[in-house]
């Protein structure tokens, strides 16, 4: 059961790393090429540890690469938020704010997990994610309170990703059982601090949380958007073309 928890957290990080990697050599300024690559690299590192651990717990001999490259999209467990296309920089920063604010609260609590590996991952990652959250915060402020165009784009970006925030706080049997044991963090407990943080940033940026968004969910159950299949086709093609070799 822990393996499923680790897998879901690992998939979140892996898919978002893949998306952020698409920005490299395309960012609005050189500093952002560096920053986005760095955030992607942090997430990829988290993903590798979590997927490796998930494979060990599962005990079926699947390592990080088998899990990343040989599962189809119906078997990925990431939230939909992280697989959304990058859109413009405002969409990406809106997605970053929502996700990093969630991941920060999550890892902050997961440091106290009774599972030593998860606690260790969280302890290391929380510092990285603190920086990610700060990076997104700075940009949401700049764009929300920058020019008219940037404000409009930032508001649109927020509208595009907002329906996908709710899923971050969805629990299931696994998280319920594991959080009762002190292994996992009950996602529902993250909503309040998340709302406080994100709400504060939006208020300062002069942005409204979109009101009439219908929540979108499904990723945690393997029901993804049509976008994930394309992401995986690109990511996995070379690896699958040479089964079993060492790279």
């Amino acid at each position: 059961m822990r393996d499923r928890y680790a897998l879901a957290l690992g998939d979140d990080a892996l898919v978002l790393a893949q998306r952020l990697g698409e920005w490299v050599a395309r960012a609005p300024e050189l500093e952002e090429d560096v920053a986005l690559a760095n955030i992607a690299l942090d997430l990829l590192g988290q993903a590798r540890t979590l997927l490796t651990y998930a494979g060990e717990l599962e005990g079926a001999g699947r390592d990080e690469d088998v899990l990343a490259y040989w599962r189809d999209d119906r078997d990925f467990r990431n939230v939909l938020l992280v697989e959304l296309p990058n859109g413009d920089f405002a969409v990406t920063m809106a997605r970053q704010l929502l996700f990093a604010a969630y991941q920060y609260e999550l890892y902050d609590r997961l440091r106290a997990s009774t599972d030593d590996t998860l606690a260790a991952v969280a302890g290391k990652a929380v510092k990285e994610v603190h920086y990610h959250r700060d990076h997104a915060t700075q940009w949401v402020l700049r764009l929300g309170d920058g020019t008219d165009e940037s404000h409009r784009r930032m508001a649109e970006g927020l509208r595009a990703v907002w329906p996908y925030a709710d899923e971050l706080f969805d629990g299931d049997d696994v998280t319920a059982a594991l959080s009762a044991e002190g292994v996992a963090v009950d996602p529902a407990t993250l909503r309040e601090p998340w709302t406080a943080y994100v709400g504060g940033v939006l208020a300062e940026a002069g942005l409204e949380p979109p009101a009439d968004a219908t929540p979108r969910r499904g990723g945690r159950r393997g029901l993804h958007t049509e976008q994930l299949g394309y992401l995986l086709a690109e990511m996995q093609h070379l690896h699958r073309s040479h089964p079993g070799v060492t790279w």
Partner: protein, 312 residues
């Protein structure tokens, strides 16, 4: 005059010229052009490798590649800052790049067609870059020399990783080994061309090399550096078990160097002129990214000025 004499006194004694020191305008302009071209090469150089980030065949290789491309962006930042010590802004330099008035290394006008090309770039292109740059750690201009110290260290690490990636391929399946050999076949001569035209050619065309040497910017001729690179690389290719695509390559006992076939310099000039396979693509990609980001940079500037006003 006196100021020029002071300048040459420093240069001749292998000292360092610092930003606030007097320097001849031609020296400054040469340095600006060279540092800018180097910075441009770092950021254009992100593209051919960045092309494989999404498709890297293992998560470990993906992480290594992401880190490498991040380093290149970092080097670009560092070098533009070094150029700024000479009184030109990054915006000015980017504008010169985008309008084709300044160049970047022509090597990046070749496509990365397979994963092995990423390894080949690390091994050969970074290898050639290091060969070019190590002498620059002793360049007469302080900020550039110090930038080179740092950059060369990181690039040595990249070169080692590129070599290791290729070694994994050559020790893998026949398909993987063929992929590595194919990459070497395509990247060998373009890498040799990275050292520029042959010495005779350049000296005939105006004595740039001589002037740069006099200024302590250049320490070795193109052909000397090319030979150094070949001598270093051939034994590495043997460790890899790959064949360098040059039937005339052989050790010359007398010279104590490898004899080798020179690259096709006509092709080099064509590619420099803009006719490489990817010149248009690379520049268009760069210009598009910059244009697409204009509204973001404007917003950041507007926000910063609001905050300054509020603070005042």
């Amino acid at each position: 005059d006196e100021r020029e004499a002071a300048f040459y006194a420093i240069v001749d004694s292998d000292g360092r010229i610092e930003p606030r020191d007097d320097m001849p305008e031609a020296y400054r302009r040469t340095l600006v052009r060279q540092i800018a071209q180097h910075a441009h090469s770092e950021i254009i150089g992100m593209q051919p490798e960045g092309n494989w980030i999404s498709r890297a065949p293992s998560l470990r290789r993906k992480a290594i590649l992401l880190a490498k491309v991040q380093d290149e962006a970092g080097h670009g930042l560092y070098l533009y800052a070094a150029a700024e010590t000479l009184g030109v802004s990054r915006d000015q330099l980017l504008d010169l790049l985008h309008t084709r008035k300044q160049k970047y290394s022509s090597i990046f006008n070749y496509p990365t067609l397979t994963w092995a090309d990423v390894g080949a770039i690390g091994w050969l292109v970074d290898g050639a870059a290091i060969t070019n740059q190590v002498p620059l750690t002793r360049c007469s201009y302080g900020p550039y020399a110090r930038a080179m110290v740092r950059i060369c260290k990181e690039e040595s690490f990249h070169q080692r990783q590129g070599f290791e990636a290729l070694l994994t391929l050559t020790r893998g399946t026949p398909a993987q080994k063929a992929m590595a050999q194919d990459a070497l076949d395509r990247w060998w001569y373009p890498s040799l061309a990275m050292f520029g035209p042959p010495d005779s050619g350049e000296q005939v065309s105006g004595g740039h090399t001589e002037q740069s040497m006099r200024w302590g910017i250049k320490r070795f001729s193109n052909d000397e550096l090319r030979q150094r690179f070949v001598d270093m690389t051939v034994p590495q290719s043997e460790v890899l078990g790959l064949s360098i695509p040059d039937p005339d390559l052989r050790w010359n006992e007398e010279r104590g160097h490898y004899d080798f076939t020179a690259p096709d310099y006509d092709e080099l000039f064509r590619v420099i002129k803009g006719d490489g396979p990817c010149n248009a693509q690379r520049l268009e990609h760069r210009v598009t990214a910059h244009a697409d980001g204009a509204w973001v940079r404007e917003a950041a500037a507007a926000y910063a000025s609001k905050k300054r006003e509020q603070a005042a």
